[in-house]
Symmetry: C4
């Protein structure tokens, strides 16, 4: 029992951020993650090549540390499988894996940068959990506009393939449009208004065609913005979406309406239960 | 009559996707289209030039296949002319034509990429027909904002011509602005914020002018977005647009209103018949 | 009197588009303008230099024609001063002036492109006058957001000057940031997301700074779009803006409200007089 | 007392813009600031190097002038500490400091450009104070969307780090992606659709990856626009946000409602006190 209570105390420190000790643990963890990210980045800068071995050692040190932490979390969680298959469990594992992979493919070591996802815990430390419900907010809007966005992406893909091929036929390999896939890459670069300039039309006909592609891209940019804004404006009035008249089942009412505007029966004012929040488990995993 | 029922069975398999056989036919068709697209794309990549003859043979194979399918569709459709002049009929024909054209102009063979439009059938196979009504949704919003967008495009065209000519006068051919059409191309590249950088102003006056063009383009991008968002927000409340009071002819009501808010007479609640859907024929063509 | 009626008939043909003769006159005029624009553009293309004299003659021909038309319009208008100081009068004069200027500065001849503004008459010929009221619509929304946009432009100008100077100090002339004005030009190119790439940061500190500028520009693009959309959504409900209760002077009501929601007195339903239309004179000038 | 009244008169001239003398002082001040900005800018242009000493003298002259003005403002303000720690007090000090700094680091002299912030006083001179309340308007909308924007920026930062590292692994230093920080810089340049083209993918895999980054950036641009528009639309109906029913505490009403729509009790119509305006002190500081 003594050992059990010790394990429980550790569980609260490691998985929660409410106690002073838990808070300190989380802050130390975040600083360690940040340090490990900086090391991975510096390791890639060529002018620091002479520190290569130091960086290598540090990276392995951090990996060992995070691996130990991952095992500790499994050991002290009351229901380990729940942690392992939670969002944070997956992220914690991903933060270690690339180091193992790097034994086979040295390049994979840079994938340690995936540790940046562990930084999500910063919201918990800074008592910014409400911020995460904001993310839910955005997700609701995105989910609501999912169908429209799929149709939109399908249309854009078709446009990009057709425009790319036309430019390949018009300009040809001698002007940088070396193949249809490269021309499609050009079409994406142009329609998204990125415009690197590594491939550009040279012939007057090609430039006229490019003008058409740009104007299309310019008009098309209005579409996802419009879709998302309209959905978000809906999602920001959650009461309206959830208040259903118990008598006639009319589902949409004026905000704060006390009586149903169709049948006149009283609506029992319900609390704002707007957006499906991440479960406790997920947040504390 | 035996032959007729056989023809009818084939019609259901080829034109519809509800039966297992029809579903399998559509999936096989989509995979074939995809394969033919990949072949056209790979054929254009220069490093695969030594497979040229193979690709050529494959392309002709696919073209023969699609031509046969097109004829079959005409043969088994109860009212062939209806299919031929439907949207899908035109697309199916377009998927074959460029190969014929390529006998005269070899380049035209790449236009086979137009087959990508046949991929629209993917929505039917994946039981995503509701997604197409989403496209209708977008089309309604686009149609509603058509007039505003024409006025907008006219203004942009005028701006682009005037700005382009001014830059031609300011910078001149020696700085890359070789002619007025080329300068107009530069103005479009700049106002749409694509910014290739293949033509850039060199003189201080030209750079000041370019700054003005960019700020204009930046402000102007707000216009189509604003237009479209406002229209889409309207289109997303279709009931409001269609429910007309039979007594006083008031045309706009609260969503789900049961009584007219002006004269108090009952509105006969109508079903959501919001957007003009593509006819059955068109969808199954 | 005979002469007067002849002058009147000519006035109706030249200034209006309702009679068959007036329509034909306007169509001929538009085609002539279009032809003159094409000539100015082609004249600037170097590969057509050997047609130089032909183009020169044609341009003078068109200029003579338009000058004659301008004088004719003054001669037959019942109140010439009204035409001269109208919008179209100014445009018609501007379409001739650059040719005179070109006698002193040969380059000015390209400014003949300003004739593109005469194309506005195309709306009248195509019976698209409603489209112009759409333009009024956009203008109302722009006027409503004018104050917000001035504040916005002032902030952006300040940002651009500060960012540009910082980059000049960080990168310096040796990396292409040759002077503070050039660096401000770079800042505008970057914040508007045009991104030519003719000037780019080379040092790590400069790249970090550029990242900040881009993120700022990216966030800031939301502001004019948001302002304009909100204004346009307002402008699209014109009834709400104009219906004032005659009893309590409450100015904003639900669309189609029959009774004032504050004092309960009847609102006299007024016709849609939404946007200040261009006066008849201006449209027919 | 004589001296005191003289000090008071000066206070009104220097700090306020309502009297003719105060107005003239402010206009003279603005023109001086503008002149000093132009001098700093011209000083950085290399082709004016031979005026170097003149510019240097002028800059010191302006600095002396502004330092004297700063001391004068402290001397005549009734409560000097209040001015010193006000917004304008800080700006006025900042307009002098870089010249002192430039004695140590010559480059710092260009930071005198910070004087552009003193131009804010232009709003006071042009009687455009209402414009500043417009800025408050924008700030309210920005503050309202702050949480959503932090979550958004966190997601974008994560995306940019992950995408940048992937491109570094795929393309490598030999194609311009020299280090992870440089690749992150590329990812920002791409996702914000700036697209300089100083670093571009060369391999087919890298181009496919870049396509993904661009499409993501293109979709993501909808998010801040949507957030901001929705907030601004809210902020533009300030009455609705402030009018609370004294009986049932229902907080949101129709604009201009006279009676609570839930409980029917009269709302005491309150004046528009919408946005927290800058205090008098700050504006006149």
């Amino acid at each position: 029992m003594d050992k059990n209570s010790w394990r429980e105390r550790l569980y609260i420190i490691v998985f929660f951020s409410d106690t002073p000790a838990g808070r300190q643990f989380d802050i130390a963890l975040l600083l360690t993650i940040l340090a490990s990210l900086v090391v991975v980045m510096l390791d890639s800068v060529q002018s620091y090549d002479h520190y290569g071995e130091l960086f290598y050692a540090l990276e392995w040190g951090f990996t060992m540390l995070f691996a130990a932490e991952y095992l500790l979390r499994i050991a002290i969680h009351p229901r380990p499988s729940r942690y392992i298959f939670s969002f944070y469990g997956a992220v914690d594992l991903l933060a270690v894996l690339p180091a193992v992979l790097a034994l086979l493919f040295p390049e994979a070591q840079y994938l340690l940068i995936i540790r940046v996802m562990r930084m999500l815990r910063v919201f918990r430390v800074l008592k910014l959990l409400p911020y995460l419900s904001q993310a839910n907010f955005l997700l609701v809007a995105l989910r609501g506009s999912r169908q429209k966005i799929i149709v939109f992406l399908f249309s854009v893909t078709t446009l990009v393939i057709v425009f790319g091929t036309l430019m390949y036929v018009i300009e040809g390999p001698e002007h940088g449009f070396t193949s249809i896939p490269a021309s499609i890459y050009w079409a994406v670069v142009t329609m998204t208004t990125v415009g690197y300039g590594d491939i550009t039309p040279k012939t007057p006909l090609g430039q006229a065609m490019a003008t058409l592609v740009m104007i299309t891209g310019y008009s098309v940019i209005a579409v996802p913005t419009g879709i998302f804004t309209a959905e978000l404006a809906s999602a920001m009035q959650p009461e309206r979406l959830h208040q259903t008249c118990p008598t006639c089942e009319k589902g949409v009412h004026e905000p704060d309406a006390a009586y149903c505007s169709r049948c006149g029966n009283a609506l029992f004012p319900r609390r704002l239960e707007s957006v499906p929040e991440a479960s406790e488990e997920e947040l504390h995993g």
